[in-house]
Symmetry: C2
Subunit: 354 residues, 2 copies
Amino acid sequence: MMPPLSERQKRILLLVVREYIESGQPVASQALVRRYHLEFSPATVRNEMAALSEMGYLRQPHTSAGRVPTEEGYRFFVTHLMNQVELPEELQHTITHQFYQSKADVDEWMQLAATILAHQTRAVSLVTAPHPEQVRFKHVELISTQGRQVLMVLVIEGGEVSQQVLALSEPVTQERLSQVAQRLNQALRGLTLEAILAQPRRSDALEQDIFTLIVQDLRRIAEQPAGEVYFDGLTNVLEAPEFIESEELRHALRLLEERTLLKNLLARTVEQSHIGGLQVIIGSDAGWEELRQCSMVLARYGVPGMLTGALGVLGPMRMSYARTIPTVRFMADLLSNLFNEQFTAPTPPSQDAR
Amino acid sequence: MMPPLSERQKRILLLVVREYIESGQPVASQALVRRYHLEFSPATVRNEMAALSEMGYLRQPHTSAGRVPTEEGYRFFVTHLMNQVELPEELQHTITHQFYQSKADVDEWMQLAATILAHQTRAVSLVTAPHPEQVRFKHVELISTQGRQVLMVLVIEGGEVSQQVLALSEPVTQERLSQVAQRLNQALRGLTLEAILAQPRRSDALEQDIFTLIVQDLRRIAEQPAGEVYFDGLTNVLEAPEFIESEELRHALRLLEERTLLKNLLARTVEQSHIGGLQVIIGSDAGWEELRQCSMVLARYGVPGMLTGALGVLGPMRMSYARTIPTVRFMADLLSNLFNEQFTAPTPPSQDAR
DNA sequence: GTTTAGCACTCACAAGCTTAGAGTGCTAAA
DNA sequence: TTTAGCACTCTAAGCTTGTGAGTGCTAAAC
């Protein structure tokens, strides 16, 4: 439907998008020529700009103002115009270092990833904890706390831990609880939820009770679209003068409160892209009304077949894709590697129990 | 230093604060008289207002504008003028119900408390998970995950759980891990950090390694001023037109990112007030520069001698204290009761293992 | 002595007007 | 096909003015 862009048009579009991302002001033909020492005149630029507007890549806030990219303009920029660079080596090292220095704690990794992502991109970062692709029972522990209160710690393959306090109908000794836990551990270890459902009823009443609770909990975990969501960098976005103008960004931030919505959004990313793949959502691209005027850069990370999570950045449409995209990509790779090492590499030679 | 306020002055101050909290506009003498059918004239009100301004309870944004409460004005209002009401019974029931309906999961309780608090007060809510007053070892569990990777789950008295992934220097079987865990459990159960430090060195190398890690982890927990911080209601405050004006609120929100700062702030509340006690911080009351133009209503909850946490609300100085204070108080009591039941009541008759 | 009516005065705010300047679209010439 | 030139458009900032809300003060009333 669209005539292909000439090289010069591409070049101008590129410059307009870059310039606008940097300044936030509508871009004028003269300014472009002067700033980039173009070998043709403002008038020519204007003609090309008019053509680009015609094609829907640029628009004018009002007659006699400079040009601003449309959603389409940004998309074209991201997919065809931007030169994809890697994060500077030094920065890569610094970031990697921080992860290997922190203790091998998933929670801490997630927090760190969110913080770094937010800081590097100056936008709101989002990271979901990795979620197993299929829930498998690993271990259960029952700890009597007080009277009839029992703490149940349920571990699933992949390392996710769920804890829950139960109130039994009558007090039970720790020995008895340990016994029950041991029997269940032997019977269920490594089984998927389906396999567990196929198990026979327990003869022991307490064991059966716990069994039921385990099933409930596993089901709950399996149904969740993603793990815990971490985010950071709210202030980045609150500080932007942009924020005041754009009513919209505020709407988008509401997503952060609605954890369920957020999880769904991120879960979709997981579905739609492969590990290492990157997804750029510009504006209300995909039916998320909340995202008008905003963009997200998302990536999936994890260990294929084992567990996956998503991470990314939410910011104004006018964000620096050139900085954001490599950062998100690098971070996804980094986390993928970390989890790979943790769960599949048999004996990495570097680390130690400190 | 200050002459005591006459009854009429108190009355006028009360009305000005109420009115301003409601409208956000400077309060005029005429408007007061008309709206509350005062039995004296605007001129009289003006005289009294002038006196109150003199004393530092009110101020004028500019000559010939109505009056606005100063920080002192709010403080006087909160401590002497406000009639302390309880939350409506019905609301109390509704809220209580929600808690008893959710499963007895600390994480879920905290989340719920934050959500309800934010919703009821239309401000940003803050809740810290309860933190033990003294750290006592309860239980350790070692679960082999993959190769040399071991998941350590550490439970301390009071129910807090800390999990951590360790990389051992060589692979170890699950049986061996269970053995070690069992020995440590027997030796350390119920001991405080000090008592554990007085323990002799383990002869078994692996056991000693784990022992060291446990000590490290306990120390980390003991040093933390408070448990995990939950919050909710960001959008409440983003939506207020107030927010745009007040640069300050934005600053205050930065606290939410700086979890450490936030924890300290909340920890101070824990120190300074007894359980059930309430603390109202108005403006830069207490040296927290970030809180200019903001107020916090905080309360401590918990089980005396066992564990405590803090919870409360952060909002613009011009918040509805009459609504906020009872809500925070009620919520603190509710959580206190919940944890009391969970950890001390031997056999509450109501609940069941479902 | 206290209260209040009356009035002059102050100030913010909105509306209307003007000007400056940035930037365009178009046309005609190169 | 490119570009110089020019008329035209639109915004933003500054200025003036009018309006109304609200005060402080004074002198009279209670």
